[in-house]
Symmetry: C2
Subunit: 421 residues, 2 copies
C-alpha cells in the first residue's frame, strides 16, 4: 500500500463540519421511557408536567388538634378560650384536614381542661391561650406543586430531588434521551487481551477499557467488540456490524498510514470519510467518517493519542446526541515550571502536574510520549498550546484545564527534579 | 406518650462526636476485589503496584526498518549510506525489536536502492540520508511503567486512564473499598407507595427514592426496605434487620416528638441514641444513634428536612467509610435580592435561585417550607445562615454553595416578583 499523506485540518473546523454533517444525515436523539427510580442522572427528552397537586389534599402540617379557626378567635394569655371535644379532632402531621376544620393548633399549645381520668385528648375540653388564623398549620392543596405545572424542562439532568418531585406529582415514568451506544472495535494482528504473562510482541488491548470508562462517565453505553485482525475484509465486516448496532463507532488503531492500516479504507467502504488527519498532537491520524447518521471515528492506537481524540471528538458527538453539554471542567491560572515548546503545525495537548508554591499554582509538563498512559494517571491538568504557537517559556503564566478538583490541587506538594528509577 | 423536648446540639459538634463514636465502635472500611473493568469510580483500598513493565519488551515505535544504529553512522544528505537487506528488518509499530537491532528508521526516511521488480522492501538495499542514534524510535522496556512501581496510591478514585495503566502493568484485579450499604426504612401509618391516584390522607413515599439517589451519587449502595406501620414492635424489628444487613441505616420519619413518633425509642432499643435534635433548620429533629459500628440516623419526614439531614450527616459518614472526601461543590459570591431573616437558635439552610444581573450574581431566597421538595428542584444553591445570626439584609453580599455548575448559572436570566398561579 502506498504511503498516503494525511490532511491537517484544525480541530475546531473539523469538529464543526463533522457535527453538521452528522446532523444533516438525520442524526437525532432517541427517546425512551424509564421509571422515576431509574432516572437518576438521565436527561429529560421533553418538558415534564405535574399530574397531581402536592399535597393532593389539605394536609395537617403539625401534630395537634384541628378545628375551625373561628373557635379560637379572641384567645390570649389573659382571655383563654375553652374548646369542647365536639369542636376539635386530634390529628397527626399528614392527616387530611377533617370536615369543618380550617386550622391546626400544635400539640405543644394545647392545655387539657380536665383532671385525672377525664384528662384525655379527644374526649376532654382543652384550653387555648392564643388564637390561630384560618389555614394556620395547614398545607393547602398545591402548596408545593400545582397539577399541570411544569416540573422539569427538557434537556435537564434528573437529580434526586427532581425524582421526589415527580413522584409527589403523580408522575411514574419519564421520557429520557436514550444513552447513545458507542461501539468500540479493537484491531491489530499484534493485539491481545490483557494478561499477566504476555509474550514479547503482544500488545495488550486496554484502550477499549479506557474508552469504555470515558464514554460511561459521559452517560453513554459502551459496547466492546472482539479484537479484529489486520485484514481489510474482517475489519469491514466488524465495522458494518457495529454501524448496524450502535450510534457511534470507534475503530481503534490502524488510523495512521502504515503498512497494515486499513481503517480509512474500511470507513470509506462502509460509509464516507469526512476527514483523515486533524491538526492536533497527539491524535493527528484520527479519521472522522459516517455511515448515514452513525458516526465512525478512527482512533489512533497509542493510548494518549486515543484519549485526546475521544475527548476532543467523541465527547462532542455524545453531547450533540444527548442534547445537553457535559459539565465543563474548571481551569486554573498557573506558572510554568519548565519551558514547553510546541510545533506550529498542531494544537498540542500537554499533560501537566500542578501544585502550590508560595500561594501560586505551578504547572510542570509531564512526558509527552503518546504511549505513556501513566502521564494521564499522574496529570492534574491539560495545557492546550494552540496551533501556530511555539509554546511557552518557563515562568510564563498559562491557563490549565483541570483533571482533578481544585481543592485537591491546592493541597498538593510540588517535588520536581531528576530521578533515578 | 409524653411530649419530650429535643436537644439542640450545634451541627459541627454533633457530627464530630458522632463520627468519633462510630470510629470508637470499630467502624472500618470493608475491602473487596473487583476486576479492572468494574473499577471505574471505585476507591482503591491499598496502594497498587505494577506487576509488569510497560512496554514489557523493547518495542518498535514506528513503522519502518529496524537495524543496528551503527550501520547508519555518518549518513548525511551528501554522504548517504546504503544498507543491505541482510542488515535490516521491516517492522511495524508495536513489533518487538528484532535480535541484533537497536533502532528503527521511519518508513518515510527509507529510500529504495533498486528499480522495477527488485524494488521490494525487505529484499532490496535501502539508502538512508541521515543517521539514527541507538534506541531511536524504540520504546524501551519500562518507558511507561516499571515493574514494581507504584501505580496508584490508596484512597484514589479510579478513572479511565488508571484502568488502562493497570491492565498495561499486568494488574487484573483491584482491591477497592466496598460500597457502604445504606438501608432506608420508610415508616408511617399514612405512608403509601407513590401512585397516580392517591386518596386524601395518603402520604406518598418518595423520600426513599430521593435518599437512594443521593447516596448512590456518593458511591454508596441503597437498600430500600418495605414501609413499616407506626407500631413500636414493627419498627424495632425492621430496624434490627436493617442493622444486621447494612453499614448505615436511615429510619425515615417518626424522628420528631409527636404522637406516633417511635423512632428514638426504637433506636434506643436496637442500639444507643447519641443525640436527638440538632441545631439546624430544617432538620432539627434528626436522631443520631448507633448499634456498634452501624450508624442509625433518624431522618425527619418532610423531604426538605430529610435532604438537609442526609447531606449534612449521612454524607460525612459515607466519606468516613470510603476513606476519602467527596468532591466539594463550588461556592459563589452573590448579592441578596431580598432580606433573609433567620432564627438565632439554628444554623439555617436556605435554598436560593441565582442569576447574573449586570455582571454580578444575585441570590433570591426560595420558599422555606420543609414540605416544598420543588424548592430543591428550582434551587441553584444553598445559603448557610450560621447559628447565632439573625440573617442577612437585601443587598448584602453572601457566599452560596452551588447546586449547579457555575457556567449554567452565568447563563441564567433573573425574573423575580409576584405571581398568580
Amino acid at each position: 500500500m502506498a504511503f498516503e499523506y494525511l490532511s491537517n485540518m484544525p480541530l475546531e473546523e473539523a469538529l464543526r463540519g463533522y457535527l453538521q454533517r452528522l446532523e444533516d444525515c438525520g442524526r437525532a436523539p432517541v427517546v425512551e421511557l424509564v421509571t422515576v427510580g431509574q432516572a437518576l442522572g438521565r436527561v429529560t427528552a421533553e418538558p415534564l408536567y405535574a399530574a397531581l397537586s402536592a399535597p393532593h389534599y389539605h394536609a395537617c402540617a403539625m401534630d395537634g388538634i384541628a378545628l375551625a379557626a373561628s373557635k379560637t378567635f379572641g384567645a390570649t394569655a389573659t382571655t383563654p378560650v375553652v374548646v369542647s371535644p365536639d369542636d376539635y379532632v386530634v390529628v397527626d402531621t399528614g392527616d387530611p384536614l377533617p370536615e369543618g376544620c380550617d386550622a391546626v393548633v400544635m400539640i405543644e399549645d394545647v392545655v387539657y381542661a380536665a383532671e385525672g381520668d377525664e384528662r384525655r385528648l379527644g374526649s376532654c375540653p382543652v384550653t387555648l391561650y392564643a388564637s390561630i388564623a384560618p389555614w394556620g398549620n395547614v398545607r393547602q392543596i398545591g402548596e408545593d406543586i400545582c397539577a399541570g405545572e411544569m416540573l422539569l424542562t427538557s434537556n435537564t439532568v434528573v437529580g434526586p430531588a427532581a425524582m421526589g418531585a415527580m413522584l409527589a406529582a403523580g408522575v411514574q415514568e419519564v421520557p429520557v434521551i436514550a444513552r447513545p451506544k458507542v461501539g468500540i472495535i479493537p484491531t491489530g494482528d499484534e493485539v491481545v487481551a490483557p494478561s499477566a504473562n504476555p509474550r514479547p510482541g503482544d500488545v495488550m488491548e486496554f484502550n477499549s477499557t479506557i474508552f469504555s470508562g470515558m464514554v460511561r462517565q459521559w452517560g453513554a453505553q459502551p459496547v466492546v467488540y472482539p479484537i479484529v485482525k489486520d485484514e481489510p475484509d474482517l475489519v469491514c465486516t466488524a465495522l458494518q456490524r457495529a454501524v448496524d448496532e450502535c450510534d457511534i463507532v470507534l475503530l481503534n488503531a490502524g488510523s495512521s498510514a502504515g503498512r497494515d492500516d486499513y481503517s480509512a479504507q474500511a470507513v470509506g467502504k462502509v460509509g464516507e470519510v469526512f476527514c483523515h488527519g486533524i491538526a492536533i498532537k497527539p491524535g493527528k491520524p484520527a479519521i472522522l467518517g459516517n455511515a448515514g447518521p452513525v458516526a465512525i471515528v478512527g482512533v489512533p492506537g497509542y493510548p494518549v493519542s486515543g484519549i485526546i481524540v475521544v475527548e476532543s471528538i467523541v465527547k462532542p458527538i455524545i453531547e450533540q446526541l444527548m442534547g445537553c453539554a457535559m459539565q465543563q471542567g474548571e481551569t486554573l491560572e498557573a506558572t510554568l515550571a519548565r519551558p514547553c515548546t510546541s510545533s506550529l503545525k498542531y494544537e498540542e495537548f500537554v499533560r501537566v502536574r500542578l501544585g502550590m508554591v508560595q500561594g501560586r499554582a505551578v504547572a510542570t509538563p509531564l512526558s509527552r510520549g503518546a504511549g505513556v498512559v501513566t502521564s494521564f494517571v499522574k496529570a492534574d491538568g491539560i495545557l492546550n498550546v494552540p496551533q501556530n504557537s511555539e509554546g511557552y517559556e518557563a515562568g510564563q503564566s498559562v491557563r490549565v484545564n483541570l483533571l482533578r478538583p481544585r481543592a485537591e490541587i491546592e493541597n498538593s506538594l510540588v517535588v520536581i527534579g531528576s530521578h533515578d528509577p
